[in-house]
């Protein structure tokens, strides 16, 4: 199809035709077009359907405020629902389709809703669908859900990548229209660090859409020349296709730069979009103004547009919205559209102005009256006009430009505490209240509606900002240009109209606002929520004012008395992908790899996520078919001979200073002051509320030097807590802290042959006999012929065991060495599963027991809480609720029938009592199969558990329909006397 409505000129390139498809049909547009302008050029007016009534809809605007012309852009995994045709930069090969329809766009079967519109008024759903109750989920809601929604997601993974970035500037200028350009130029020439951002792919704002000249240049040319100069300045960053989405605290702005949206697919490696966090000292908001419509009967037909949009299509895109166009206005600006169109040879059916004193024209008819109705099923054919004298007149037209005046674009001024104030001369809200700190508003956004006013306002705003920043502002010469005052008569809706659309996307009509008032939903927020006015994807940019005005009239109040709803970020809808950036898939969180990772990978280890760490979970061997086989083997081999496990992930904090011991005395509930050098002690850390926070060991390497370990999960919170205690509570303690978690590769070597294995590694001058290096010993040593190492004789498994640490870069070499020298003992690497089994066998508490609600008493360590010193948590641990009779105690649990499982998370019940919450006796925290005992074992918390050893109870797990009989036993299943670890 040829471009029947294409004109000459404009900022499109006729020499660069672009092919595209809409609803399967092929069209040609031009470089510089939007999808909307290209469709209009091709005579396509019908572009979508409305939300509720499925009314046929065309384009209303030429910008990001568009409520109607929403399409699904692209196909397959890149399908992008609800994309505004007015902001889609046309590219060759573009495909789009209309949405929210059942059947073809011309014959949407759901348009039946429009027939029943009288039943589907505001809030009708709150009053019905309640009977019978069961029908809501089964019948009513599925129908509603299916009918609702706009476009659809492909539900395939988004194949594009998104980046994030951070920028710093003295001045951010939002909007590159006349005010923004003047501000950026002033600040740029003065040497300030400036960012100029505009959502459009072509900067210049309204200068691209108007015909008046600036000095001796067209607006567009002047804009081009200024942008070229700005781009040449090293202190200015010019960012087209960049939407500032929100004004956040302390001068931080979010911005989305569309890098690839105007391409068929992004270039290799390039992101689709970038989310910039912009740190500003000052901001000039020059976001312009948005024209608003007037409500009249059937004002939503394709072809009915904002007058300024028709002008934009003609002047910037060289597209006639139709060959025959009428205008309906309450202000002088509407006439400007008629003049521009007439100059381009388009037939003006008439200009209808509600003002008796409207300007006259020699070129076309100006009528004093109102448009009272329109005709045309899928597109406008006639506008019916009631003249001031009451006579009716039908205007033949395929497009009707409506101008109800302009609203300064105050959106971003409201993101914090700003609340707009009313300006009578403009009949509009202008920025008011407390603006985001550092923000100045200029140009039309500030109510300076003329081009000259905008230029002046922009330059002045920049000058004052520069002065604030201590920079000298250079004055720039502003061109002579249009400086017409605003002439408007407030006019919101045509008397007597009812199905007159305010919010075109959500199908909110004048009638709905009246009903809302009638039913008492009169505050603006109630109006919005009851009718859904302004809740569509355009957030009411073109609709809110009309609704407010009507509510004000009904309530007998002024518009400012009624007030406004709150504009919230983002300024325009923002892809969830760009807000996430690269952090998805495997890159969602960083991975932390242990020093033995490479080696473990070579062994075919299975890895498990422990926080951000990846740890070897078990090491399968050939022939093993289940994880249990591997784990059982690892456990048995370790207890029989020797096993090795990477325990680097445990948090390590270096604590030094003269008061290091005193400091540990504060953070641990048990005593540390008298720990000998060369000894390690188990420590239990409480929160200030008396609940166990973490546990670990502290090794005293010197009088003034400890190495503290934490659990893997709590490394960071514990370090933070220690710094709090040091800096905020005991600032005069001589103690220095630094995390050394990753500085050392640490391996547990456990099992009866662990000493023998170690002998082959430690250098001969280190004596590690039981006498010289007893249980809980620690020392700085050397290994393998001189490598510095730390040795701790501590045991999580309950076996004779050591932990040896070397500088991380040697971790890989050391694990290989251990495996090499351990061959004769059949040294077995074990993973976190075997580690877990052995600690349960030994009855050691871990994360499942230290769950943030357990006390030292619960853990059976009540006596550790020193009464002779004040430590964090000691006082509040004395509260009655934490020391009540019947408290939980950690116990061991084994099945009466050895074949039975004891699942973690099961609850404990008395053997013959009722099974319900009221009779709950406790729960199973950790469970495993013990290959040493040949049956399942578990740890758990049981009321008065310490006095109930030997009792037979039931465990129940109704979640998996499981119950069985168990015996309560000591938590120390293996070597209860601790002989092995002292051997």
């Amino acid at each position: 199809m040829s471009q029947v409505n294409r004109l000459n000129g404009g900022q499109v390139n006729a020499d660069q035709p672009l092919k595209f498809k809409f609803d399967g049909k092929s069209f040609t547009g031009q470089q510089g077009d939007t999808l909307a302008s290209a469709l209009l050029a091709n005579g396509v007016r019908l572009m979508g359907r409305s939300f509720k009534y499925h009314r046929p809809r065309g384009v209303l605007t030429a910008g990001s405020e568009e409520p109607n012309a929403l399409v699904e852009l692209r196909t397959g995994a890149r399908q992008e629902p609800n994309t505004r045709a007015t902001t889609i930069e046309l590219f060759d090969g573009l495909t789009a389709k209309s949405q929210n329809r059942l059947g073809p766009l011309q014959f949407d079967l759901l348009a039946i809703n429009d027939r029943f519109s009288n039943f589907l008024t505001a809030g009708f759903y709150y009053k019905t669908f309640m009977w019978p109750a069961a029908f809501w989920e089964k019948i009513y809601e599925p129908i509603i859900r299916h009918a609702a929604g706009l476009g659809s997601l492909s539900l395939q993974e988004d194949p594009d990548v998104y980046d994030k970035g951070f920028l710093h500037c003295d001045l951010l200028v939002i909007g590159a229209g006349p005010a923004g350009l003047a501000a950026a130029l002033t600040a740029g020439r003065s040497g300030a660090q400036v960012i100029l951002a505009d959502e459009d792919f072509r900067m210049g704002g309204r200068l691209n859409s108007e015909t008046f000249v600036l000095g001796d240049q067209s607006g567009a040319d002047w804009a081009d020349s200024v942008i070229a100069e700005l781009a040449s300045l090293s202190n200015v960053r010019v960012m087209p296709r960049t939407t500032i989405i929100g004004a956040f605290d302390h001068g931080i702005y979010g911005a989305v730069e569309r890098i690839s949206d105007h391409k068929i697919v992004p270039d290799a490696g390039k992101p689709r979009q970038i989310l910039w966090r912009i740190y500003t000292k000052r901001t000039v908001l020059a976001a312009g103004a948005i024209e608003r419509p007037i409500a009249f009967e059937n004002n939503d037909r394709p072809g009915i547009m904002l007058a300024s949009a028709i002008r934009t299509y003609a002047n910037r895109f060289a597209v006639a919205a139709d060959q025959r166009i009428a205008i309906f206005t309450n202000n002088d600006d509407g006439h400007r559209t008629a003049q521009d169109l007439h100059a381009k040879g388009i037939k003006i059916s008439a200009v209808v102005d509600v003002r008796p004193d409207a300007p006259r024209s020699m070129d076309y008819e100006v009528l004093n009256g109102e448009v009272v109705d329109t005709k045309g099923r899928l597109g406008l054919t006639f506008a019916e006009v009631r003249l001031a004298d009451g006579t009716m007149r039908a205007l033949e037209c395929g497009a009707l430009g409506v101008s109800g005046g302009w609203n300064p674009n105050v959106h971003m001024t409201c993101h914090q505490r700003g609340r707009p104030t009313w300006n009578d001369a403009l009949a509009a809200f202008v920025p008011g209240g407390v603006l985001p700190p550092g923000m100045t508003v200029a140009g039309a956004a500030n109510g300076d509606m003329s081009t000259a006013g905008a230029l002046k306002g922009g330059a002045a705003a920049a000058s004052s900002v520069l002065k604030d920043l201590g920079l000298t502002a250079k004055t720039i010469k502003l061109p002579q240009t249009e400086d017409t005052p605003v002439a408007i008569k407030p006019f919101w809706y045509v008397e007597g109209c009812s199905r007159a659309w305010l919010d075109q996307q959500n199908d909110v009509t004048v009638k709905d606002v009246k009903l809302s008032h009638q039913e008492g939903f009169r505050s603006v927020e109630h109006l919005k929520r009851y009718t859904t006015l302004g809740m569509a994807t355009d957030q009411g940019k073109t609709s809110n004012m009309g609704g407010l005005a009507i509510m004000a009239e009904l309530a007998g109040k002024t518009i400012p008395e009624v007030g406004t709803t709150i504009f919230r970020p983002p300024y325009t809808p923002t892809s969830i992908g760009v807000l996430a950036g690269r952090h998805r898939g495997q890159e969602f969180h960083p991975k932390r790899l242990t020093p033995s990772h490479k080696w473990a990978q070579e062994q075919g280890a299975v890895f498990v996520e422990v926080g951000n760490w990846l740890r070897a979970q078990w090491f399968p061997r050939a022939g093993e078919t289940t994880w249990r086989e591997s784990v059982d083997r690892e456990v048995l081999a370790t207890r029989k001979s020797v096993g090795v496990c990477d325990v680097t992930t445990l948090g390590k904090v270096d604590v030094q200073g003269a008061d290091a011991a005193a400091f540990l005395n504060k953070i641990y509930c048990n005593a540390f002051a008298k720990l000998e050098v060369g000894k390690t002690r188990y420590g239990l850390m409480l929160r200030e509320d008396g609940i166990a926070k973490d546990d670990g060991t502290a090794a005293r390497l010197a009088e003034d030097h400890f190495v503290v370990t934490t659990t893997t999960a709590n490394a960071l919170p514990v370090y933070r807590h220690m710094e709090f205690v040091r800096q905020c509570l005991f600032p005069d303690m001589d103690v220095q802290l630094i995390s050394t978690t990753e500085a050392w590769a640490q391996y547990a070597i456990a099992g009866p042959n662990s000493r023998a294995l170690l002998q082959k590694i430690v250098d001969p001058d280190t004596e590690i006999s039981n006498e010289a290096f007893p249980f809980m010993g620690c020392a700085n040593i050397t290994v393998c012929g001189g490598l510095r190492a730390r040795l701790f004789r501590i045991s999580f498994s309950g076996e004779l065991a050591y932990e040896i640490a070397v500088p991380t870069a040697y971790g890989d070499a050391l694990i290989r060495k251990i495996m090499e020298v351990g061959t004769e003992f059949d040294v077995t690497p074990y993973g976190t599963e075997a580690l877990g089994v052995m600690r349960i066998e030994k009855g050691h508490a871990a994360g499942n027991e230290l769950n943030g609600t357990t006390t030292a008493q619960n853990l059976g360590m009540g006596r550790m809480v020193s009464k002779t010193k004040d430590s964090i948590g000691s006082k509040l641990s004395e509260r009655e609720g934490l020391n009540a009779a019947g408290d939980l105690r950690q116990v061991g649990i084994k099945p009466v029938n050895p074949a039975d499982a004891v699942p973690a998370g099961a609850h404990l019940m008395n053997a013959d009592g009722p099974v319900d919450a009221a009779h709950d006796q406790g729960y199973v925290t950790s469970a495993c199969f013990s290959p040493n005992l040949g049956h399942a074992i578990a740890l758990g918390f049981l009321k008065n558990g310490d006095t109930r050893l030997g009792e037979v109870m039931r465990i129940v797990s109704p979640l998996n329909d499981y119950a069985t009989t168990v015996e309560i036993v000591s938590a120390h299943f293996i070597d209860p006397q601790g002989e092995r670890l002292r051997a």
Partner: protein, 416 residues
């Protein structure tokens, strides 16, 4: 006026002339038996149940702005009773049961939609914890089911199970959980209370309490003094501010929680999904918007807005499990002020001042509690004794060490 499909049809045919205001706009009386401060969900529900279930008379609800303007109008609309601890589970299950009959009870379609809530599990330890929780739920009479990854994938085929940083190892589902049209809850309760004679007084800010000899005699308001035999406070995030007027310090901080909605989309999410290895949960409204959120911003705030880092954190979580949402767009972000208590659980209790009662500390979970909170507060106001399901929600639990700490985070509100 009774709402029904029949009434809607009748009015449509009669030109909608018969609809009357959903509630009256009365002038405050000089004295009430019971004054409820706060015209949010909890305050309105309290008034409703006081009038309907506890047959109390002369009740007023005082709202400083417009009713339903607080957290009931700015939450992510989820209802559930998947709690672990005995202090909580019976209460939330009571609430869920009230939700299940609510629409017929107050004759307003709040679109209570029990399409299920699913908590994803990513580690064995998480599975253990969720097993314990699921069992606690069932033992308390609620429903719970442990789903396998395959079962989840059937319901959410676009869930990222192939390339996820933290594997999805199943999920704990509560099929009776779901969502509710939040504004309708406020309006339904308001309409139900109003029709039973409760005065709902908007634009009436409480500026102080009249307390003499340890007894509360009424409240000073922007519309004059209003006497009351009993005063109940249900103002969520403003609790500390309000109670400071009675010289009380609360075990509470006010924090901002952000929430987000996408543009309208054809239905993709059958129920509510919560990511267990990041800060993200999501459902889809009947209108088609993906409604999602994550963690609180984490600092004390009374500004109903948050900042970018949390927005990004939430979207990262979203993209981690639903990478198909990348091309959906966030339409709007907003914030509500959460009354974050010191153990993450609420308080429904008498204060040390005679005649002054308190309801608060709901953290980010107040919406689902609305019916039971209103019911139990009404019970307390009527009988001066706690309702059986709310008996743990006492002020003195902190002093006594009887905290109800679901998450095990201790006395740091921003971690709950």
């Amino acid at each position: 006026m009774r709402y029904s499909g029949f009434k809607v049809i009748k009015e449509a045919l009669m030109g909608h002339k018969g609809w009357t205001p959903a509630w009256r706009d009365p002038e405050p009386q000089p004295h009430y038996d019971i004054v409820i401060i706060g015209g949010g969900g909890h305050g309105l529900a309290t008034a409703y149940y006081l009038a309907k279930e506890f047959k109390q008379k002369r009740i007023a609800v005082l709202e400083k702005g417009w009713i339903g303007g607080g957290n009931v109008g700015r939450n992510t609309t989820i209802i559930r009773s998947n709690y672990l601890l005995d202090g909580n589970e019976p209460f939330y299950e009571f609430s869920l049961k009230l939700w299940e009959g609510l629409e017929q009870d107050f004759n307003y379609n709040a679109m209570i939609s029990q399409r299920g809530i699913l908590n994803l599990i990513h580690t064995d330890a998480q599975r253990d914890a969720f097993t314990r929780r699921g069992n606690a739920m069932i033992l308390n009479g609620a429903d719970a089911e442990m789903l396998t990854t395959a079962q989840i994938k059937k319901r959410y085929p676009f869930l990222n199970t192939e390339d996820s940083r933290f594997p999805i190892k199943g999920g704990l589902a509560q099929h009776r959980g779901g969502t509710v049209r939040h504004d309708a809850v406020a309006w339904g309760y308001a309409r139900g209370a109003d029709s039973r004679g409760v005065d709902i007084i908007q634009n009436c800010e409480v500026t102080g309490f009249k307390i003499e000899n340890g007894k509360c005699l009424g409240v000073e308001t922007s519309r004059g003094f209003i006497g009351a035999t009993k005063v109940g406070c249900a103002v969520a995030g403003s609790s500390s501010r309000l109670m400071s007027k009675a010289n009380m310090r609360l075990p509470m901080e006010s924090h901002v929680l952000q929430a987000f909605v996408s543009e309208g989309l054809k239905p993709v999410m059958p129920g509510v999904v919560t990511f267990g290895a990041g800060h993200f949960y999501c459902s889809q409204s009947d209108k088609g918007g993906l409604v999602f959120g994550g963690d609180i911003d984490g600092y004390n705030s009374y500004a109903q807005r948050g900042n970018l880092p949390v927005v990004e954190d939430v979207c990262e979580g979203g993209m981690a499990i639903f990478p198909a949402f990348g091309r959906a767009r966030m339409l709007r972000m907003w914030g509500g002020i959460m009354d974050m208590s010191m153990d993450g659980s609420p308080i429904i209790d008498r204060t040390h001042i005679d005649g002054l009662y308190f309801n608060g500390g709901w953290c980010y979970g107040g919406f689902k509690a609305t019916p039971a909170s209103g019911f139990c507060f009404a019970h307390l106001l009527t009988h001066d004794a706690p309702h059986p399901t709310a008996k743990a929600y006492r002020f003195n639990r902190f002093e006594k060490g009887l905290v109800i700490d679901e998450k095990g985070m201790g006395n740091q509100p921003n971690l709950h």
